[in-house]
């Protein structure tokens, strides 16, 4: 399964990963339009943590034993069988926030405009997640465990 690994020694805190995550999950997928019209409605799945000159990008780890799947009371949190990614079916999510309570990495966020959760979906359907593809310093890389 593909995993995103962060190398904190190369992260420059530019946050281009957050920007491109937003664009990738927007309707228009065009950066200017997405920021103009959808910026308030999308919470990027990746978040850059910064303290002094140390920084790194963090998103859902798609854990093998995902606490969020165990805690989800509706069954909205589930594992995608093909990619192994942990996904949230927002049509089933009721915004009870149990997943936020149990994620040890704090990777689940409240949705911006709806009472549902928002988190990294490993850019299902794309070859390379948007954050990885757009990091100017290769601070986040995609590694395939099976390779």
């Amino acid at each position: 399964m593909k995993r995103i690994i962060a190398h904190e020694e190369h992260c420059i805190g530019c946050r281009l990963c957050e920007i491109h995550c937003l664009v990738q999950h927007s309707k228009s997928k065009k950066i200017v339009k997405a920021f103009r019209t959808e910026r308030d409605r999308i919470v990027p799945g990746v978040k850059v943590e910064e303290s002094g000159y140390v920084s790194f990008a963090l998103q859902c780890r798609h854990c093998d034993e995902a606490p969020c799947i165990e805690a989800c009371m509706t069954g909205a949190m589930h594992r995608d069988e093909t990619t192994g990614a942990v996904l949230c079916d927002v049509d089933r999510c009721v915004g009870c926030w149990m997943c936020i309570m149990v994620c040890p990495v704090g990777a689940v966020a409240r949705g911006a405009d709806r009472q549902v959760v928002s988190k990294c979906d490993l850019c299902i359907g794309e070859d390379v997640p948007a954050c990885v593809a757009n990091c100017p310093n290769e601070a986040i890389v995609l590694e395939d465990e099976d390779e």
Binding site: R15, F35, R39, N134
Partner: protein, 503 residues
């Protein structure tokens, strides 16, 4: 106090239709040009501190930022150019010496561009580098007078050969000290040298212990400050280089400000933390050519004559005499650093007005050594503003055994020649020790870029050689017949010993 006479050099233009206020530019500018106003929800730019490094424009995800020359135009003047006026304004406001980073940017024409190469036609057919083997392999070191053979000897050779450096292509990375450039930059140069099969010069900053594993691809410098020079240093290299001068600032020494001397640099240079690292102009134990000979042989003794010892000199008026003297003093390699050579910091006046271009120096030295019959005793390495594979080919044709690239290597890693290296705020993470900025240079990416550059140049050199009907770099070396001058005076043609185009 505001320096009223000093005007901004650049104008930052932001396209409001494309700016999405993502603030990447705000975060990435080390000179605080961009700022986010949360009330207006706008990113604004103060061009006065912009140095034209393009970091913001490169990273802007929408291409909303453009950097232009500041539009304050002076009345055109052939003598009092905008440049000269700005220099005086700066000095009037500060009372200080003008400082610059990198090599001279003076517009006085580049002699490489006035020399053109030959190509084969009809007779002496071209060689296709994709089909035929092309030899770029280069050996630097003292070559024997003549070779004697004896059966049963190793390789059948009776003559003892002096130690040689073997290069896969005639290009090496020039001396850039760890301290003037970042750890990641130094690491990338060493790794790229290893991967490509060439050498990187440690500069006068000593050798960080992490780089000892690259010893087989390192040339270490013994400069006037003798930073980092101890027995471990001498043992962890492939060759030694005594730095007598530097093309960017002939005649004067070097100065690394104390602020840049952190724990790691202090350990590598073997000076106390926070103290200025001063390299004096002369080596205080070299005041004559005999003194130089003494040092050369001291180093050879210390390394049991297993490593070539090079001498690096700046290209000045009597460069031929000094070169000849150095060879006779025992130097196995003579490095000539020309007028356009780069630096982390030099007084602008010295950088732009002292020394001679490498083309002339190289030709003069090569001719002189041949005349004296000692050309084989030392290899010649040319340095100082080599910009492309074409410059490399021309340099070899003029007589160089190999070239050093400094600026070109930094540019490959991302340098945009803003010439502000001495501020320590290199936005590309190259000429800085600020941990916030050094992160920007990922050594993996930098190494890849350097290896790509050398690979591309090697291919181009082979193409040009093949076009000339040559399949080994040895056949090009000093072969001035392959060069023709355009727009050069008779005198210049004479010194270069090349014909004019048409001849």
């Amino acid at each position: 106090m505001r320096k009223w006479l000093v005007e901004p050099d650049f104008l930052v233009e932001r396209d409001p239709d494309r700016c999405i206020q993502c603030q990447v530019c705000v975060r990435q500018c080390a000179n605080d040009v961009h700022e986010y106003d949360p009330d207006e929800e706008l990113v604004t730019s103060d061009s006065s501190t912009c140095v034209g490094c393009h970091r913001c424009a490169t990273l802007c995800p929408t291409g909303a930022v453009a950097i232009r020359r500041a539009p304050l135009e002076f009345r055109p003047h052939g003598n009092w150019t905008a440049e000269t006026l700005r220099n005086i304004y700066k000095q009037a406001e500060t009372g200080g010496m003008l400082l610059s980073g990198m090599g001279s940017d003076r517009r006085m024409g580049v002699t490489w561009d006035r020399m053109l190469l030959n190509a084969s036609q009809v007779t002496n057919p071209s060689i296709d580098p994709l089909r035929e083997p092309m030899e770029l392999l280069t050996h630097l070191g003292r070559k024997p007078e003549r070779v004697e053979f004896r059966e049963g000897a190793p390789g059948g050779l009776a003559t003892r050969l002096e130690p040689q450096l073997e290069l896969q292509l005639p290009v090496m990375f020039s001396a850039m000290s760890y301290g003037s450039i970042s750890y990641s930059a130094s690491l990338a140069l060493a790794r790229a040298a290893r991967e490509t099969g060439t050498f990187a010069n440690s500069g006068e900053g000593g050798l960080h212990e992490d780089f000892r594993r690259f010893a087989g691809n390192m040339i270490v410098q013994v400069a006037s400050g003798r930073f980092g020079v101890d027995v471990d240093y001498l043992n962890n290299c492939a060759a030694l280089e005594i730095k007598i001068g530097q093309g960017a600032k002939p005649g004067i020494g070097g100065h690394l400000p104390g602020e840049k001397v952190d724990a790691a640099i202090s350990a590598t240079r073997m000076i106390p933390r926070g103290t200025d690292a001063l390299s004096p102009a002369p080596h205080h134990d070299i005041y004559s050519i005999e003194d130089l000979r003494q040092l050369i042989f001291a180093l050879k003794e210390a390394t049991a004559y297993t490593k070539p010892v090079a001498v690096k000199i700046a290209a000045v008026h009597n460069v031929s005499a000094i070169a000849s003297g150095s060879v006779r003093a025992g130097a196995d390699i003579v490095v000539i650093d020309g007028y356009r050579g780069g630096t982390g910091a030099a007084p602008t006046m010295i950088r732009d007005n002292v020394g001679i271009p490498i083309e002339f120096a190289l030709a003069a030295v090569d001719s002189r050594l041949r005349e004296e019959g000692i050309r084989h005793q030392a290899s010649l390495v040319a340095a100082g503003g080599i910009r492309s594979s074409a410059d490399v080919v021309k340099a070899v044709a003029l007589g160089a055994d190999a070239v050093y690239i400094g600026t070109a290597a930094l540019v490959a890693m991302g340098c945009h020649l803003c010439q502000k290296c001495y501020t320590g705020k290199c936005n590309w993470g190259i000429a800085t020790q600020d941990p916030y900025l050094t992160k920007r240079l990922n050594p993996n990416i930098a190494t890849r870029r350097l290896v790509n550059l050398l690979r591309a140049w090697a291919l181009e050199i082979k193409e040009m050689m093949g076009g000339m009907g040559i399949n080994a770099i040895e056949s090009l070396r000093g072969n001035r017949e392959h060069l023709r001058g355009v727009g050069l005076t008779d005198r210049e043609l004479g010194i270069l010993r090349i014909k004019a185009a048409g001849e």
